[in-house]
């Protein structure tokens, strides 16, 4: 029944698929890690508010407003466009042999040649997911009863300690399901990075497909791989939810 399915294409390109799988997983892991870290600060930044005193306006203008603009931009424009913008415009500005703002000379040349697309891709996915994760954090934090915040502050706890010990631990339980969704979205969106020539799963499939002019085999194969990973991720998130509910 499946005689038409040419397994030999998958076998021939096996090393490329394997490398692509590795790159996809690395991209996703980097995106989740830095996206969560940056997203936490952005989410807190978006709701940061000082009622009075010296810090009222600095906080408003230097923390709250930039966070809002950042989140608005990355949620309001296509990830595909962001990837192109970052790879062809932002990264060359920062890393360039002649006049890179961050890294110059030999080191820049080496980075660009060996890891150029990986850096851009990982950066784009991290920056993009940070905006979505920031909204998850914001919603999670705002869902916590205001009385919790007031009780902690009334005991003399600082804003920072109140967030760290009281609000965020409670919000985290509620954030798990949407964070799991975001991780799955990130994994799937990482396929867009093939557009800048990064050899992840979708790129491997495109290469194999181009060589044989056969499309079912490579794309079906990577679909199954994506599906296995997303199902595994759902399972892990589900287990975590169960565990934190019990506590």
């Amino acid at each position: 029944m499946f005689a038409w399915f040419r397994t030999d294409i998958i076998i021939e390109y096996w090393p490329l698929f394997l490398q692509g799988l590795r790159t996809t997983l690395i991209l996703t892991a980097i995106g989740i890690f830095f996206g969560t870290l940056l997203g936490l600060f952005l989410g807190l930044g978006k709701i940061a508010k000082v009622e009075r005193g010296l810090w009222k306006w600095p906080v408003q203008l230097l923390i709250r407003l930039p966070s809002q603009i950042y989140i608005g931009f990355f949620r309001g424009t296509p990830l595909f466009v962001q990837i192109l913008l970052i790879h062809f415009a932002l990264v060359p500005l920062l890393i360039h042999p002649d006049d890179g703002l961050l890294i110059q000379g030999e080191w820049a040349l080496y980075l660009k040649r060996e890891y150029g697309a990986l850096i851009s891709g990982a950066l784009a996915l991290s920056l993009n997911s940070a905006a979505y994760i920031a909204e998850i954090f914001r919603a999670g934090i705002q869902s916590i009863d205001r009385g919790q915040f007031e009780a902690a502050r009334s005991l003399g706890l600082s804003y920072f300690h109140t967030m760290k010990s009281i609000v965020i631990p409670q919000a985290f339980r509620r954030m798990l399901p949407p964070l799991g969704n975001e991780a799955i979205t990130l994994l799937k969106d990482s396929s867009l990075v093939s557009a800048i020539g990064l050899a992840e799963l979708a790129y491997a499939a495109r290469t194999a497909a181009g060589a044989y002019a056969r499309y079912w085999e490579p794309y079906l194969f990577i679909s199954v791989l994506y599906l296995i990973i997303t199902l595994a991720m759902s399972f892990v998130v589900h287990r975590l939810e169960k565990r934190y509910q019990a506590a």
Binding site: R52, G147, E150, A151, Q170
Partner: protein, 243 residues
């Protein structure tokens, strides 16, 4: 201990506190009574700056609450507050609820904080509930833990915001008993309450608030038997008639 002068507070364009002034002495127990929406709770919340006043001044234990330079965290460490809805931290046990602030704010070691927590739990009659989570406790028990939590900071002033309003009737007594024992122990306390009998029993002085103002104040005897203001008498006749 507490000095309030010409306090003004607005929610949007609605003025909820108008020219509120009063002075509360060391170890004085003051109950604030009045109809719903009279500004009692807002007044109380201004004292530890959970609400920001738009005008006037508040001084607590030498801290100027209304001055922008005041470190509010330091002020609040001196002012304990008990809320209507308890607001215990649901992800921590009764004991951990009490230990948290002494450790994080005062820098007590875990052993010191635990000893203090156990002692306070015993004082509110809940020694055996140290390791229970809030959702395993009744409302009355939760409120007693909340009182112990506030006391753990050894505050100069205790504020109670309708501490029994969210409780089932049969649990009101156990909470009032704890508050009474504190009052007898000599602590400065401001209690917003609808429990008139309780207010009459523990207060050195009663403030009657209506429409954002302190209409009348005096000893419980004076307020309950010979109030000067018509508004006070009307309010009291309404709340006392059903008893």
């Amino acid at each position: 201990m507490i000095k309030v002068r010409d306090l003004q507070k607005f929610f949007g364009s609605k003025q909820v506190l108008k020219d509120v002034s009063c002075e509360i002495k060391d170890n004085e127990v003051v109950c604030v009574i009045g109809p719903s929406g009279s500004g009692k709770s807002t007044f109380l919340r201004c004292i530890n700056a959970l609400e920001t006043a738009q005008g006037g001044s508040i001084e607590v234990d030498g801290f100027s609450v209304t001055s922008p330079e005041t470190d509010l965290n330091k002020l609040r460490a001196h002012v304990g507050m008990v809320f209507q809805r308890f607001n215990l931290f649901p992800h921590k046990t009764a004991l951990e609820n009490i230990m948290l602030a002494p450790m994080k704010v005062k820098g007590l070691s875990a052993q010191e904080a635990e000893a203090k927590g156990q002692e306070l739990l015993a004082r509110v009659g809940l020694a055996e509930k140290a390791h229970s989570y809030p959702n395993e406790l009744s409302g009355g028990q939760q409120q007693r833990v909340a009182i112990a939590r506030a006391l753990a900071m050894e505050p100069q002033v205790m504020l109670f915001d309708e501490p029994t309003s969210a409780l089932d009737p049969e649990m009101v007594g156990e909470v009032l008993d704890v508050i009474k024992s504190l009052a007898h122990g000599g602590k400065t306390m401001v209690v917003v309450t609808h429990e008139m009998g309780f207010a009459r029993q523990i207060s050195d002085r009663i403030l009657f608030m209506d429409q954002g103002q302190i209409v009348e104040q005096g000893t419980p005897e004076k307020i309950f038997s010979s109030a000067e203001s018509e508004r006070t008498r009307t309010f009291l006749s309404k709340v006392l008639i059903h008893r």
